[in-house]
Amino acid sequence: MSHCACHNTDNREQVEAASRAALSEDILRAIEEARRDPEPGGRLISILHKVQGHFGYLGKEQMDAVAQLLQVPAAEVTGVATFYHFFRLKPGGRYVINICLGTACYVKGGAEVAEKFKEELGIDFGETSKDGMFTLECARCVGTCGLAPVIMINENVHAKVKPDEVPALLARYRDKARQEQA
């Protein structure tokens, strides 16, 4: 007979183990916490934020792992991930430059700063420079309007940026990367 009562056909353990291996401890903890909610899917966005915080972007493997462990359909996870501008589906550069284009920053010349970055790096918003060093993103108000126009490079805030300061700023980060590598 082709079927036997004792034969284990389930792949749940393997799928779960692979899913756990794809994520970090703190993300797994957040998912476990969410699982105790009546609607675990309600925490999907905050968990995806954690994934992007840890990995720098949302990879296929990570999104599938979140779907499996949170028990939210994968189509919903990737639907959410592709809807919000903030989520990145490809690895970003070593430094992610977030240029604020909220009202205050825009009025104070944020758009000109953005243009200068695009010109210097030869890329558009959402793209990464060929050397993998910089990814350019635009933000809608980072909440420090007194510092307008403001940009963030990874965790660092740069206040009152002028377009002609851009080349020096980029050079500083390139140096930093060289030093860190050495």
Partner: protein
Amino acid sequence: MAPMEAKMITLTIDGKKLSVPEGTTVMEAAQTMGIHIPRLCHHPDLSLAGSCRVCIVDVKDMGIYMTACSQKVWEGMDVQTSSPAIRQARRDIVELLLDNHPMDCQTCERDGNCELQNLAYTLGVRERLFKGERKRFPREDSSDSVVRDAEKCILCGRCVRVCAEIQGVHNLGRHGRGFASQVAPAHCSTMKDSVCIQCGQCINVCPTAAFLEKRAAEEVFAAIADPKLHVVVQVAPSIRAAAGEGFGFEPGTPCTGKLVTALRRLGFDRVFDTDLAADLTIVEEANEFLRRLKAGGPLPLLTSCSPGWISFLEKFYPELIPNASSCKSPMGMMSTLVKTYYAEKAGIDPKKVYVVAVMPCVAKKYESRRPEHYTPWGAPYTDAVLTTRELIWMIKCYGIDFPHLDDGRFDEPLGIATGAGDIFGCTGGVMEATLRTASELVTGRPARRLDYDEVRAVEGLREESIAIGETILHVGVSNGITRAKIILDKVVRKEKAFDFIEIMACPGGCIGGGGQPYPPRGVKALDPDLLAARARALYTIDGAKKLRKSHENPAVKALYKEFLGEPGGAKAHELLHTHYSAKLPRGIR
């Protein structure tokens, strides 16, 4: 609709006062006074989306148009459903949808059956004024069954909802935003690499041609025209109950005889009846069931005729694979017999035999390409699968005047079926047919009872206890996978000890399959009255037959005697049974 005891709300629609229960929508209220508000994304069996905006109405003092499908009535509400301004606004909305839609109606598969096309005509769109950019997506035909054409999608979301709410698969989701939005499986992957179970309900509810079956009609025409091939066709039970709809017959008109004649006119060399293989399935499955009852398991036995359900089992509940019947589907059994038993008997090289199956189902196309269903010489046992829709088109294409055809008879030796085989097409049919046979096998006496109305799960889910002699059987019947999950979860959690469970992927069973004719204009997909009419046709055919128990089928008896040996024996097992395995990606239950 809200329950009877609900508070009544009085409102005015088009100047007339009426009272409806609290919670009624404007669309439902208007319907009670004979006003059909145009709609597109709305489907009564699915959750509300309010995404197409076609059903807008003017509500006094609100200042904006409101969507009738989602807006609930309130006391004193004053609604205008039609006016020159509303008509213009609706027309603009549909024109904008058309503007972002390919202009290929004449060559589109759904020409004449397209809700968008119908609506554009009804609302008076006679010219295309807006010229703008149009979304571009490649046609995605990786799957054996379902083709996704995102360019034709109007983002109404019916497919997303049917896949999640009725089928419990959640394969589809909206991806991206704004102009770049598209409906796709997770990661915008191909349908082949997704959790799609290939049931084709997305095709049934799509108002346009964004989802279609993968067609095989041209291959079949080519095979028929090839003088080297002996082309055999088999017809599933539910085709005879639905094919007539394509030629102006009232839904529920049985058309078995005309169907056989039409197939012969198309040029098939032999026309066989899948219902015979359904009888054979029952004999094999009843034996398997009794063997498991005696051996103490694995129980419950889960039916295996519905390939959409089998795909779901492998992706979502693989731990229950040992419970699934190892019987091939009737299509699989028939095709195997054609290339073994029949070819041998007729003295034809089986490599020259081309088997076509007409099925109500798009997942059968996928089933036919499963590696387990290939011959030892590397060809599929079922060479091509046509849906009911494709067959209707082929008949029309050949200029065959279907309504005026004489009644033909299926060919020997695979053309005799009992009523038990005929009812396979309805939910509960496999269960009922099995009970007719199993009750005789258990008691050893002729079964007096033939009708088991309690397992005809028209509302989608039944759990029953049925006495067969001294034995009480606990059975479950479900159609539509969301409802199957309710039973499957009980099995997994060991909440209830079932003996036998019939599961059909599609609502109503095969009669509501993903390959059945699009409903006539004005009738919604999955309409319960339409499904009931098709079911009635099959029960009528069953009731009119002298032989209504599968094991009494003389052709089946001859098969065992001449060829197969004993039911469940070595040869039967080799040819008529199969196996399943867990598949990835694993679905989320």
